[in-house]
Symmetry: C2
Subunit: 219 residues, 2 copies
DNA sequence: CCTCCACCGGATCGTTGTTCGAGTAACCGG
DNA sequence: CCGGTTACTCGAACAACGATCCGGTGGAGG
């Protein structure tokens, strides 16, 4: 009796569930990064055996897909009346969430079909339609805005979060030593400490929104 | 003598070199995708033992970094006089190369410091500077254009190349069954067969370029 | 002929995702 | 109260991976 398998309390809290697995996966990813996420390590944090996870989840990729969608729950769906304010807020929060979980940038190359992502994409389309954006501008606008925020977050996460200071310094030295080969890049490129990611993002976003807005009147 | 280790001809052509390894890695990635690239399989295609590769290359990540940079050799550095034509051509060829090697999209999350990438980034900065774009618009323009093409290629590679038809159909069904939950998305979103990736890309790119151009006169 | 050194690869280690099958606890109709 | 079904757990094991160790091998130079 007393030698039997550990009770629930000893294993740490509530029973295992897909929900708990995803929660802990996000926490693990936030704390240690993408390459440290292992089914065994994840199970250990949950106080269970590693193979137990496969009852609730089909593969590790499922865990990643679920974790990726889960973080977008933190992106509020705007309620602004003015379309541009709403879209700006959505894209900004979208980017902030991606940067708050830098491991997510590396996962953007997989189909995002979770409910949180779909709901926010639906808002984007609805906001643009409501603003009077029609095809073929509509698809271009939705794609352009999504792709812009994805690319921005991916690039920034790569350099400012995922890359350690050692890598950044090495990159700086690497460019300094080849200053004559890449003159414009060395003088004005990134890593020159004069760049402001947030401001650059906002400018680019406004260029896109200006272009979208210009298509409304003219059709 | 005749029973000794295989001669060079039997092992397949020229001696091993970092150059040949990268060439074969790109060929393997093109043919079978990113998850099928293995040091053992790569060595097999080269007619050598797997551990031999580690003499020419430090880790597998090095192979990926080298392969990623290698494909950008196919992006010509434009010689247009007009800055906008040159930038448009560069970004377009950049995108075409990423889509021709769909595995590259998943690797965009790692620092790109290879000579081919740096040379083309340098051209982008030089073209913008030559056009009269000054800070803070310069960084925003270079970032915006790069991030836009990266995001676009990543998204398109995800859906049209990496995802098999089965996944695409499943996604379509998934959205059809939830048409009431995501009305705008189901009616106008991607995968509705009315979307034209190339045209959408061009429109978004022109919105960005219009915005950049507008900053030249006003400063 | 000998020595050195760039280059090669078999054996091996530790780790990973995933499967198999034997378990156990809780519930349910009788 | 009981027999059996269902939901869930997990140790052992497998195949494949990236990487290292260390003993080779062959050609160039003295």
């Amino acid at each position: 009796m007393w030698l039997r398998a550990s009770s629930r309390e000893e294993r740490g809290g509530p029973p295992l569930s897909r929900r708990r697995i995803v929660e802990e996966a996000v926490a693990l990813l936030d704390a240690e990064g993408a390459d440290r996420l292992t089914m065994r390590r994840l199970a250990e944090r949950l106080g269970t055996g590693s193979t137990t996870l496969y009852w609730h989840v089909k593969t590790k990729d499922d865990v990643l897909d679920l974790a990726l969608d889960a973080i977008f729950a933190a992106v509020p769906i705007p309620e602004d009346q003015e379309w541009r304010a709403g879209v700006t807020r959505l894209i900004g929060d979208w980017r902030a969430t991606l940067l708050r979980h830098p491991w997510s940038a590396a996962l953007l190359g997989r189909p995002m079909l979770g409910p949180n992502v779909l709901a926010r994409s639906d808002f984007l389309y609805a906001a643009l339609i409501g603003a009077g954006v029609a095809e073929p501008h509509l698809t271009a606008a939705a794609f352009g805005l999504s792709n812009f925020v994805i690319g921005s977050a991916l690039m920034q996460a790569t350099w400012l979060v995922n890359a350690d200071a050692e890598t950044r310094d090495a990159a700086r030295d690497h460019m300094d030593h080849q200053r004559d080969r890449y003159p414009a890049l060395a003088a004005h490129g990134p890593l020159t400490a004069t760049d402001d990611w947030d401001e650059s993002f906002e400018r680019g976003l406004n260029w896109l929104l200006d272009g979208v807005e210009a298509t409304i009147a003219t059709g």
